[in-house]
Symmetry: C2
Subunit: 328 residues, 2 copies
């Protein structure tokens, strides 16, 4: 059997309470005592049992990250980035992290239910009932890359509106007047922000824009490519296309190249997310950089604030930036 606090207590000649203190807050025991305890622990290869600790303290220091977007998992680079950043931040703050995807919502819920998780970060399109369920169980909730007006919970989002403005302004500056968008199945919140930004900037520049400039597709290269093909075969084909993310933009690029169009000369292509895809394709993709790392960090920070009963801004907006590359 592994050594317990009793063994250490016996060997070091102090009480178990002191051993406990020595490990959880060394400052509260006298230097000499501390030394004795650590020595004994060393000899016995003792290390505290986190389970017993959680049981006694009635808290687990465990949080969860739940990716709520259908089909979006860790395999989606965007969420993988957020996830990675959350992992790092969670470690820094000595919290354990459990990760789930929408696919196992039931599992996630039961994990939380079993009093193991004190707070959750919900990524993507969280459902209202999920949120209320957590909140009713007194589990802190933070939204990431999503907003839910009407709910009292902090959320961390990228500046979708601003990002889109940057992209459109960039294209206008390059002389484009006929700009189309191909959106994947983005969440209404994000789609809305971007659409409004698009319309506003276009109109500010005296260009009438409307639904005719918006194409739709599934979030796959193939689907994006065929949506692009459709757009590009119109008699008044656009000279620039904005993809809802880089996968879509890559699809547009493929479609264009196969139609014999030169990019960026005949068609400019701009993506969203600034993922690794941008560097893979030829020509490299201009893309709106979304600061996933920051989003993840802030998500964890908000959750901590909540758990510590501190104030936390209801919405945090992380700036986006445009990374201009050869495709535009």
């Amino acid at each position: 059997m592994d050594a317990t606090i009793y063994d250490v207590s016996r060997l070091s000649g102090v009480s178990t309470a002191t051993v406990s203190r020595t490990f959880s807050d060394p400052g509260r025991v006298r230097e000499a005592t501390r030394r004795k305890v650590f020595e004994a622990a060393e000899i016995l290869h003792y290390s505290p049992n986190a389970i017993a600790r959680a049981m006694a303290r009635q808290r687990t220091d465990k949080i969860a990250f739940l990716i709520c977007k259908k089909d979006a998992t860790i395999l989606d680079e965007f969420y993988a980035r957020i996830c990675e950043s959350i992992m790092r931040r969670a470690i820094q703050s000595d919290r354990q992290l459990v990760i789930s995807t929408a696919a196992d919502w039931a599992q996630a819920a039961s994990t939380a239910q079993n009093k193991q998780v004190e707070g959750v970060i919900l990524g993507g399109s969280a459902q209202a009932d999920m949120v209320s369920e957590f909140q009713s169980k007194n589990i802190a909730v933070v939204l990431v890359n999503h907003r839910m007006p009407g709910f009292d919970l902090p959320c961390v989002v990228s500046d979708e509106y601003g990002g889109m403005c940057l992209a459109v302004e960039h294209l206008l500056r390059r002389g484009h007047r006929s700009i189309a968008m191909i959106a994947g199945r983005l969440s209404p919140y994000i789609a809305g922000e971007r659409y409004n930004a698009f319309l506003r900037v276009m109109r500010e520049h005296g260009i009438e824009a409307g639904a005719g400039h918006i194409g739709m597709c599934d979030p796959t290269v193939e689907s994006a490519a065929s949506a692009a093909r459709e757009l590009l075969s119109r008699e008044n084909r656009p000279t620039a296309i904005l993809g809802g993310n880089d996968v879509i933009a890559a699809g547009v690029l493929k479609a264009a190249l196969r139609l014999g169009l030169r990019v960026p000369e005949d068609l400019a292509v701009v993506g969203f997310d600034d993922s690794t895809i941008c560097g893979m394709v030829e020509p490299e993709l201009t893309s709106v950089h979304i600061d996933c790392r920051r989003i993840g960090e802030l998500g964890v920070d908000c959750l901590h604030a909540l758990l510590n009963g501190e104030e936390c801004p209801p919405v945090t907006v992380v700036p986006a930036a445009l990374r201009v590359r050869r495709s535009s």
Copy 2:
């Protein structure tokens, strides 16, 4: 406060032991009793406390997946795939999963040390001392995508040798005689398997091959592209290049296109991993498919076997396959 087993016991009029049984193994209590218990639980919104359970049972049902490759995290699609599959499988078998990367090895070790983790799956180039450390703590270890001769632990790998054979044979069949390889910093084990396969197949076809056919690069598109540029500017340039993974192959593709070479007419390119990159680039990449899903599943299964004291084959090889696309 949340309801406990005592509350349920009181309300339902049975002992706590019976409540416990009802939840952990309903079959062991009479139907009527079970109903009473569940009803009471319902009323009280009771759900078992996993922490207390773990404490009493002296087991956590928790396993870990640790990605040991430097810089490789969840952001690396290859590991993300394995990870995803491990997540699924772990859920199916009611185990909690904690995920760590090499970057937080210290953290991972301490998590394990705190008696929270009963077994770990090590992905990539695990260090011998890591492994012994775990084993000395009586934590079960399984290797995934790696082998460590001399250690007594199960490992699950892809058929690197076979995969490479498929790729080379494919190129030979297409008439290529001058084939080069650009390897990233693969682990010695994998590099070795592939190199041997390459040499064997080439020689079987009467082609002398050696180190001169092997280029090296960092695992980035840029580095791969410059390695490819070097190879392609030799007077006797190869007519086909095998990339150690798809990122490298994408780099080769870029370099070739920029040199004005047509792919596959002037140069055939083949990647490894069959990742989403293959479909992003134009032309699409031929690649050796590695069955990450299966590797992950088998990894979990092996770990379970170990934890249950069952037999487990020391090495499991998952077949690879070639996905032929336009680039070759």
